[in-house]
Structure formats: C-alpha cells, structure tokens
Amino acid sequence: MEIHLTQTILIKHNYISMTILAFDWGLVIEKLILIAVVVFGSLGIALYTTFGERKVAAILQDRPGPNRAGPFGLLQPLADGLKLIMKEEIIPTAANKWLFILGPGLAMTASLMTCAVIPWGSDLELFGRKIALQIADINIGILYVFAVVSMGVYGIMIGGWASNNKFSLMSSLRAASQAISYELAMGLALIALLMTSGSLSLKTIVEQQVTGNWWNIVYQPLGFLLFFIAALAECNRTPFDLPEAENELNFGYHQEYSSMKLGFYLFAEYINMIMSSAIMASMYFGGYDLPFFDESTVAPNIAAMIGVGTLLIKIVLFIFLFMWIRWTIPRFRYDQLMNLGWKTMIPLALFNLLITGALILANL
C-alpha cells in the first residue's frame, strides 16, 4: 500500500516536472523582457514628451524653453519627476480615500495596457528563437485597445468623484461624456478600415501595409482624419481639453491631487498620446514599414531594428503634430464639442463607411 502511494506520488511528480519542462520558458522570459522594455521605454518616452511639450511650446512662441537643467535643459524632466515625488501628498479629508488612490493608478494602468497589442517591429531572431516584437498578437487587437481606452475614463471618473469637489466632478463628467461621444465616431471610422483590411489584429494590418503597395491612409483619408480628431478628444488634448479647462474648472479632475498622484495623471495623458500615436501609425501609416525600402535585402534582425526605429520616428512625428495643434488653436466650447462629435463626426464616419462599402462591392 505504502509502496503504491509513493509510486503514484512519483508518477505525479514526474508528470508535473514534465509539463513544466514541456512549457516554453523561453517564451515567458522573452515576453517578460519585452514587457519591461516596452513599459519602461514608454515611461521614459513619456518623461521626455513632457519636456518635448515645453520645448515645442517654447519654440512655437519664440522662446527658448527650459534650458537650465543639464545641457539644453535635458535633465528637466528628471528634476520635474523628483519634484513631484518629493512634494507633500495631500488627501482631502472629505475625499473617499481608496477611490482617491485608485483613480490615478487606474488611469496609468489603462494607458500602459494599450501597449500590449502594438507591433513594434518585425520578428527578431536571437539565440535560434524567433522573437515577435509584440507582447501579444491577439486576433481582436483593436477591440482590446478600445476596451482598455474606455477603461481609462474610469480613472478620470473615479478620481474626479472621489475628490469630493464640484469642479473635479464636473470635469470628470465632461471627460466621460466626451470620451463616449468621440469613441463612437472613432469606432465608426475604424470599421471602414477593418472592412478594407479584413482583420482586427494590428500585426496583420501592419503586415498588409508592409507587403502591399500603399499605406492605409491612401485608402482611408477621411477615416484617418476622423480617427485623428477622435484620438485628440480621447487623449484630452487641445482643442478637446475641456476636462482640464483651467479657466472654468480650475484644474479639472486632478485638482485635489498632489505629489506623484498628480504626476500619474499627467503621465497617463502623455502615455495615452504615445499609444494613440503608435496605433495611428500602425493602422494608417504602415506601422514599422519604412517606405521605399525593401526589408528583405538586409538581415532580418537589422530589418527589425530599422522597423522599430521607423515606428518610433512616426510616433515622434505624431506627438509633434499633437503638440503643434495644442499650441495653435484654442479649445472648443462644450456645446461646440458635442455638436462636432454627434452632428459632424458620426455622420461623416457613416458616410465614409458607405463609400468604403460601395467601393469594396465595386471591387476597386
């Protein structure tokens, strides 16, 4: 009896160790490294996007901008971050403490989670393994992005509500209704793209553009314009930065926040910007595809690196466009925002959908 028992245990043990061995640990390690690189990379880029914002604002307004910390002021974002961390953390007495802390955390998590489905480059070959430069190539990639982006609104909503402050609440309400209104137009603009590409996977969409002749912007110019405008609204960027309208709402939903919690909100905004730039670049501008360059002529690793660089350049250009718009035009009034969202964007998106459908039917 005893022998029998030990035997079963042994067999069981063997079985477990076998499954553990059979499990591809290389994949886990590779994905963990990729996640770390992407998350910390986007945090670093976000850090320098804050600096870039101030510099772009300055040069567009004939000023030198931050130039004191380090050469050309390059250490400024580190100084800003240090300042935010060292500041006193204040939680208002009337605030709901847990939700108050949850708000910025949620905003940050949601904006960072988007990066999971973005293809950063073609496959890399290292140590005899084929490493995909994408954390997860799920076949509903774009739907996932939409789900996560709408979760980001909860961060703002919860933060604004938990602050127990009229202005914050008003601002979070604005943010929520704005996000919902523009998500509709965004989704409709996207459906037209999905009709031409026939896939929800971002990797497939990018590969189609790499192998095909044209980027999707050629097929979907109106769709891109609508998507871009909706992305501005989703990122709460000017001219849609009503949730942060300083003149009416003091500071918006993060008015009661201080220290790194405020930093998280501001950071989440910049990460959102980076992620929406990456998604727009992937969906409409060929992702990691360098135009007029045949990737098959160079080694696959070099081609992958060129691809990553190309995508990063496209992201930087989009971020510059975001900033350029911010420092050019003032924000909309709230009724104008709603009019634009419901009475212009959605009909236009539907029109775009119709045209695309007609062209597909006509086999063009």
Binding site: I59, L60, Q61, D62, P64, W324, I325, W327, T328, I329
Partner: protein, 178 residues
C-alpha cells in the same frame, strides 16, 4: 462719429461659408503660422550669461567715488540724504585727524554711510544733489541676498576700489559695469 484713425474695419457679419464652417482650412492656416515661428529669431536675452545693454545713464546700485589719489570724496554733508525721497540714506560724519590726509579728501568725512537698497527707488536724486561728485549710480542691478540686513549697504560695499592701490580691481569693476 469721425474715426480717429484709418485702422477701423467694418465687422464682417456674413454667415460663414461651408469652408469656414469646416474650420479645418483655417486650423491648417493657423498651424502654418505657428510653424513659421519655429524659424524666427528669439528675442530672449538669456539673462545670467547674456545681459541686456544699458544706456550710459542707467540708474543701478550706488557707488561711493574716490578721487585720482584714492581719497574718499564724500564729506558727509548730508545733501544726498536730504534729497532722497525714500529716506534710504543715513550717515555719520567724523573729523579727519592728522595723518588721514591720504584717506579723506576734505577735513570732514563719512565715518558711517549706509544706503538701504530695499528702500531706494533708484531715482538718482542723490547723485544730482552731491556737490563733491562722491556718489554715483552704477549699472549693477538686481542685488541678491539671504537677509534684509544684507540689503543695507555700508561703506565697504559702496566704495569703489582705490585707483592707486587696487587699480586692477577698479579696472575689473569698470569693465563689468561698462
């Protein structure tokens, strides 16, 4: 009413055309304007490294003058203190004794001479009042200090370097101030 200038323009109250209502064209026009500003010369003076040129009559912090032989010119007559509208200047006079002829030009001198730079309005009336050319306003400005006490400038802060014994310091001070 007769317009005072020829700059008046009639307000255009025409309803917006389709392209105007679209906003996009005008937004792109605006963006071109901001883009062109990227290549414009910045009017900024990068202050601590670079200083704005001043006119020679700029009224900055005061200096107490010496004559060519390095003797203090001030005789503590008090005219500057009387002229001062902000009452920033105080002094105490003393009589020159035997053997101090190389230090003080006249028989009477200022033993203590203080200007409160927080009170001073840099009007230059002290400079105008002085019969002995003893006080001048220099081109130094924006003094910084940790305490209020530090802004009360005494004789050691105000006197210029002695041209006979500290000629190099004087030249340096002149060079910086000029």
């Amino acid at each position: 009413m007769q317009p005072l200038t020829n700059k008046a323009q009639a307000v255009n109250r025409q309803p917006m055309t389709f392209w105007e209502r679209l906003y996009l064209i005008n937004i792109i026009k605006g963006m071109m304007i901001t883009f062109s500003h990227m290549f414009k010369k910045q009017p900024t003076t990068r202050y601590p490294e670079e200083k704005r040129p001043f006119s020679p009559v700029f009224r900055g912090l005061h200096v107490l003058n010496r004559d060519e032989e390095g003797r203090e010119r001030c005789t503590a007559c008090g005219l500057c203190a009387v002229a001062c509208p902000a009452e920033a200047i105080t002094m105490e006079a003393a009589e020159r004794v035997e053997g101090e002829e190389k230090l003080y030009r006249e028989e009477k001198y200022a033993a203590k001479y203080e200007i409160n730079m927080l009170r001073c309005i840099f009007c230059g009336l002290c400079e105008e009042a002085c019969p002995k050319d003893a006080i001048y306003l220099s081109e130094t400005f924006a003094p910084a200090n940790y305490t209020r006490k530090g802004f009360i400038y005494g004789k050691s802060d105000l006197l210029i370097p002695n041209p006979t014994t500290e000629a190099a310091d004087l030249a340096l001070a002149r060079g910086v101030e000029a």
